[in-house]
Structures are given as structure tokens and as C-alpha cells.
Symmetry: C2
Subunit: 518 residues, 2 copies
Amino acid sequence: MAGGSPPFIARHTDQLFKTAQLESVKAWIGDPAHGALPLHARVQRAIRQLILDGALDAGRPLPASRALAGSLGVSRDTVEAAYGQLHAEGFIERRVGSGSFVSERAQRLTGGATARRGGSGRHEAPRLSQRGSALFHGGGVRDFLAPSAFAPGVPETRSFPLQTWERLQRQVLKEHGTQALLHSPPQGMEALRGAIADYLNLERGARATPERVLVLTSSQQALTLCANVLLDPGDRLFIEDPAYHGARKAFEAAGLQGVPVPVDADGLRADLLRRAAARPGESARAVFLTPSHQFPTGATLALDRRLAIIEWAREHQGWIIEDDYDSEFHYAGKPTACLQGLDPQERTLYIGTFTKSLFPGLRIAYMLLPPALVAPMTVARTLMDGHSAPIPQLTLARFIEGGHFGAHVRHLRAVYAERRDVLARLLRQHLAGVLEPRVPAGGLQMPCLFVRDLPEREALDAARRAGIDLLGLSALYATSRRQAGFLMGFAAHAPYELDAAVRKLAQVLRTLDRPRAR
Amino acid sequence: MAGGSPPFIARHTDQLFKTAQLESVKAWIGDPAHGALPLHARVQRAIRQLILDGALDAGRPLPASRALAGSLGVSRDTVEAAYGQLHAEGFIERRVGSGSFVSERAQRLTGGATARRGGSGRHEAPRLSQRGSALFHGGGVRDFLAPSAFAPGVPETRSFPLQTWERLQRQVLKEHGTQALLHSPPQGMEALRGAIADYLNLERGARATPERVLVLTSSQQALTLCANVLLDPGDRLFIEDPAYHGARKAFEAAGLQGVPVPVDADGLRADLLRRAAARPGESARAVFLTPSHQFPTGATLALDRRLAIIEWAREHQGWIIEDDYDSEFHYAGKPTACLQGLDPQERTLYIGTFTKSLFPGLRIAYMLLPPALVAPMTVARTLMDGHSAPIPQLTLARFIEGGHFGAHVRHLRAVYAERRDVLARLLRQHLAGVLEPRVPAGGLQMPCLFVRDLPEREALDAARRAGIDLLGLSALYATSRRQAGFLMGFAAHAPYELDAAVRKLAQVLRTLDRPRAR
């Protein structure tokens, strides 16, 4: 049926399709961009395009399938398949004995065709909502992707016991079978909630039960939930200054008004909460803080301040949002117990994540909630993204219960402590007089202050061009109290890698320094 | 060091700890609820509790570790470990030669202790934000968990080629190694975006490129993103009536005002959009619709209406949100091409998901976006939950590229077509005169109208008590045009299971019918 068509059939096609239209169909079919489509789909799409463009009017007869097949050099079956689909979608009508016609239904298009073509200035800025525009211009939370040198918050994953993980996952799939493919309850799988509660009680001094754990994908999701469920647009929230940018942006996106509270060597200045509360209009409905290792300063919140914050929450019915993002990694003795465990008033929402302690691609974090907030938070979560994947949840539950989580964290704690010390030594060696490292007692990153006046923005850009990914300290401050410098991640890099990267950074900063040198 | 303590040491402990306090510590240690904690942590936690309760004043000396060890019948090392942690957390001070004392820093607590105890009416309703409260009382999106009979939207997962999936995942881990544990780019892994774009071009007649695909966790997340990035609180949005409840709730949560547009056998009444647009104050900035199989009626949107909607969007700079949630499953010929492919104006946001076509626990969905919306949507997504897990993305890319996705969908299409027909036959056999099935041309569920006046709420409750999970139709309507009945899922159940469930449902509805029979 295919192949070399007799010339009279080609002529007949020409009567129904103008030559230009036939050429347009041929060009569409031959376009390498459409090479993934089967031939009949290409023929169908090409004719559809002619109709959409208004090049074929309603009621216009189409060539007989045999004639068109001849003109295009394809089989008649191919054209029949294309016509069948055009008919099914309503683009053409087929009348027995008289062939195929462009459908009246498709007519509407013709009028708009010119306008449509004229108006396709495609990449104009779209009209977003005000909040959408604010979100966009806020820039979102930039995760550091590849573990390029000094990317803060990125853990060492090269030593992750992947084989153990895979073995446990095979067990999960063997035991649960295709049941593991179904929905997770929106609060999370019970096995994981139990394992998390045990861990929090044992290692973090929390008051946890499985019923109070809500499994999420990320601490970012937890922050967004807190902002929306606890507070309304315009509500005030105390926030550390400097603070984690992801938290600040989540609160801004929810329309909250952040009230910066300075941080010193003992963490958040808790006395200022109660002082603000005493003045009308200056208090806030919640406080966000990172008590274990303040982000970015690394300070551990002192006990009296923890208690003062709990008192503030009790007196003013405030909420305490405790982001305990990397408490597992504390290098001087055991980490301090979490604030949640000290709060008998159930005003604390505790946020934990496995992004730092295991790996970023896992997408499991959680909140430990006051009992009365479990249902509202779970319901709100169903509207954001439904639930979390069950297979990683079940695998993680076994990983924790089998002691692998504890062993992995213990191993990395020693590794990170060494890397922290190596980085501090390298900075003192190669960047003395430029950067002053503030060695933290825990966490995955080290704040380093500029000793002399360097342009932070230019330094960050120059470093990025050299393949070094640093977070600037200035941008983490809400007020003019800001200190310039870098937040340098040390966890994802072996000592020899840190050595190479510090040397490169020293070179970058020297070039930067030169034109400004007196 | 441990064991039976000489009586004189026990007496010495009594001088520092009142008997009641010692008993309280012993009770805490012996409480089975604390059995998971190691002994030293229990001792530490028990003393911490005494301090938090104000039972031990600041400055009060603690028993020597040896004395307390004797009194408690534990080793001195255990007490030393407990004291060490109390000291590290700031609860006690240790002075060489004179022992341990309750720290001044912990003093602040004592004052609040009574109030704290008095005020713990723990399960009072918490004060949520107005929006949090509205979210909570809206009830969220209830996913149907176990595949109980007739749960709508749940696919058959028992025949999922899990071994193939596991094999591909092993390949991914072998090739990418621990690199696969790191962050995904927030827009999604390139391999998956490419596979999705090819699929959409080939099977859905879309205009897709990998650069325009945004990988998400769920269509619920896509809806929340659309609502927030495109529209502001109070903005109007056309929405099908009846409509998918998850979409309506996502829009309500974002503060939008839904404008219901009736649906008939050809889908959304597109003529009403342009008519509304002609009257000031009645237009809307976006339209939400499910063109392939309208949820819940199952109607396929006719071509002229598709074109009319595109014209409306062009004329009024409106956005078209096309939710193509189960278009893969069309039982009469090929599914109609998507609306996105017909829209040369780039006003259409196409939402697709693998929840129905593969499995709900996968947590992968996506949007195909106008080029100018890719960056704003990606940025907004980083604030919601960062990014999607890389390993399932890479595995899914291989699953699609290897032809397994197409084969699985083709297999299930035949299975579901049969189940749809079986359910219709069973309903006509056992529930004639009660339920009238409206057999859809595609999708995973069948709307069934009440033939005579049954109380829908009571019928749903009675069915649920009998283990049958139905979605009521009435609640899906925004206006009083509502029709009572059920939306019955048929995809997840073999014919014999459908048979058993229909018989049970017939029994339930008969009991319900009897007292009301005339």
C-alpha cells in the first residue's frame, strides 16, 4: 500500500491540500525534533497544526487516505491511523462515502489564528500573584547541590552504609510486598514514628510518644506548616538574628512579621522576649530558634535561657518552634537535651531531620508535637502534599531499630570533629589576617569572620567562579548588626580536599584583596 | 563499686535528698515507661525532673555520687555519668572538693513550678491561626488507605512489576553510588524530566521539553503551588462543579474564591467562561479543570470547548490549570490529546501524576509549565519542601525509557476496562432501582446516582461500618445543583472482590432503605 505513488493521485491531493500545506506536513514529519513520535502520530500532529493555525477551514475536505499516503510516501494504514485519531479528538468528521472534512467544532480557532500568532512574545514576564512574585524575588532556598567545597549543611555521604540500607529495603519489600506501594497514613508509618520517639527520648531528652510524631519530607516543610497553622498574615514571630535563611523565607512567604532577637555566645537573648512582651504591641505569638547549635553562630542555648523561653511561652501562650537540625553532631561531650523535654506546658514544636544525619536525598524529617496540634498539623499536611513515601519510612525504621543509625552517627561524629579541627588549622595557616574561624562545639559548618574589610558579595562570587560554594554571613542578619564573613561547611570533605580548597580560597581572596590594598 | 550500700551512706544521702525525693527518683527509674533509657540517663532524667519541679532549690548540694549510687543500688559510674550530663546541660555545678550543687541558672524555674503544675489542662483546643483553624475544620484530603472496596482513585498495585523496579533501582545505585544520596536539583533530575517530556509529546500530544517540566511529589503539591504563585487571596478562579475536593480545598486554603462552572456530558460549560468575562466583576484569573475524565462525572471535554477555553485565556490573560490525573486509562480508543498541546499562548499549566498510573507510595508527580513560569514555580517549591528524592526519580526515568511504564499501563488498561464493565453489570444485577451507574469512558472510578431518595450521609456511614469506603457525590458540588450518589472505584479490585463487595453494599443499602420504605 505504501511507496511510490502514481502521479495522478499526487495531483488529486494537491487539489485538496495546497502545495504549501503539503510541504508544511512533510516538513513537520521530517523535523528531527519530532523523531521520537511514531509516523502516524507525526502525520496526525502535522494536520492538527494546519487546522489549529487556521490554514484548513471548517468543512474543507481532506485528501483520501490513499492519496495522502501516496503524496507523503507513507503507508495508507499510517494515514488511516492519523485520521482516526483526528476524528476521535474532534478535529475532523468522517462521512461514509464522502471522506473526511475539517470539523465545525474546530472552526472557532480560525478567527483567533492571526492574533494568536501575533501575540506570542513568549518569554515576557508572566503576571504572577503578589505573593508569587514576592516568593520568586525572594529567591527561595538554594540547596548546595554537588558537594562542592564548603557547601554548608551537606553531610558526608560517601561513607554511608548503602549496602546495609539496600538490604533493609529488600527486607521491607519482601515482607510488605506490594502493600508498601500504597499510601502512607498522612501522619507517617507507625514503625517509623515509634523508632523516632524512642530515639528522641533516649538521645535528645525529649518527651516523645509515637502518637505525637508527624513524619514529613523536610524541615522546610515543617517550617511552612508551623507558619501557616500557628500564625496568620501580619502576626509577629521572634526569630534569631542572624537566622537560618530557609526559616526566615518560609515565615515571610506565610506573611508573618519577623521580630529579630540578637544572639550571643549563649544563644538567643531570651531576656528580650519577656521585655518585649511587657510592652504593648511588641510581643509575638511564637519564637523560632535553633538551640543545639545556633544557625549560623554555632552557639548552644544556655539552660537559664531555655527555661526563660519556656516561661515566656507559658505566660503569653506563645509557641516555641525548636529546629534541632543537626544536634546529632556535637563534639564536646553529649549534646544538650532538647528544649521540648524541659517544657511541661506543651508549647514546644520540635523539628528534626534526617537530611544532615543520613542523607539529603532521603526526604524524611519530622515534628514532635503537643498532643493538641497533631490533628491540625496532619490535616494541613494532607493539603500540601498528601503523605510521605512508605518504603523509605519502613527502611529507615529498621535502620534505626537495628542500631545502624546510632553507629553511623557515632562514626561521623568522630570524622566531623577531625574535619572541623583540620579546617580551623588550615584557615589559621593560609588565611590568617583575612578570616577568623569561630570553631563551633557542634554542627556541620563553621562561621568565619572577615578580619579586615573585604567585600563579601565579591568574595562569594569570585569563590563561586573558582568552584567554591560559600554562604555569606551578612545575608543571614535581619538588622544592621551584621558581621561579614563566610559560613563554611566542613563535613562533606576529607582533610586532603579541605586542604586543596582552602589553598584555592586563599588564592581567590588574595586576588580580590590586591586592588584594594593600600 | 555498686551493690549493697552500707547504711551510713544511705543516711548521708537522706540528709541531702529528702526521703520523698529519693523515692521519686527511684520511682522514675523503675517506671516501665522509661525502660528504653539506659540507667544513667534514667538517673539523670529523674534528678532533672526534681529540679524542673522546683523540689531542689538552687544552691542545694546533691549527694556525693558514691552515696547516691548506694541509695539507689546502682554503680557509682552510673551516677557519675548522670551528674556529668546534668553539669553539661547546666542543671548542676560541680566544685572540686565540695561536690555538686543545683545551678543558679536552673533557679528561674522554681517560681513557675506551681503555676506550671496547675495550668496543665493539656488537651484543651490549642489556639490556631485563623487559616490553620479553617484548614483543620476543612478536614484536609482524606486518602483512602488500604484498598478497601470502592476506594476511588486507588490503582491495582498487586500486579506492579516490583522485581523490575527493584532491578532498575539496583542499577541506579550501582551507577550513581552515594551520589544518588545527595540533593536533587529542585526542578527534578534531568533524566526524569527528559523521560516525562518524551512521554507527554508521544502519548498526550503535548508541547513538552525537559526544561519545562517541574518534578513534584504529588498533584496536590502542584495545585497548592498554582494557587499561591498565580493567584492572591480573594482572587477568583473558575472551577468545575462538581469538582475534585482536593483541588477545591487547596484553592480554599490559599484564600481563593472559587466560581463554580457547571459540567455536562461534554465537560465544563466553556461558554459560561466568556459570558462571565463579559460582565464586570464576574470573570476570574484562572480556570481549573480535568479535561480527560472530568472528576467525578467522567466526561471528556469536547474539542470546541477546549478551544473556547484557550480563547478565553488568550483574551483575558487567564491561566488554565489542566489536571490530567488519570488520562492513561481510557477504554474507548486512544485518549484525547491534552489541552496544553492545543494552546499556542502558553497559558496552560499541565499537571500529571504517577500516583494512579504506577503507585501512590512513589510520590512523583509533575507540572509541564509555560517557559516563563518554570523559574517562579521552582523557587516557590524550594520554600515548600526543597526537592524530590533522587533515587525514585532516577529509577522511574529508567522504568519509562525501558518501556516498562508503557507496558504496565497497557496491561492495566485492559484489566481496568474489564473491571469497569464487571462493576456496571454487578450494580445492575444487585442494585437495580437503587443505584444507576454512569459508565465512564476512562478513569478509575464510576459515578453512580441514587435512583430513589436515599440519605447519602447515612448510606456512606453504614457502608463504612461494613468495611466499604465510598466517596459521596453531593459533597463534590459547590452549588445546590448537586446529585446524590457514590463515586465508586473499581481499579484496585478483581472481579470476585467486586462481586463480594457489591453484594455487601446491596445488603447495607437494603437495611438503610427499609425503615424509610412506604
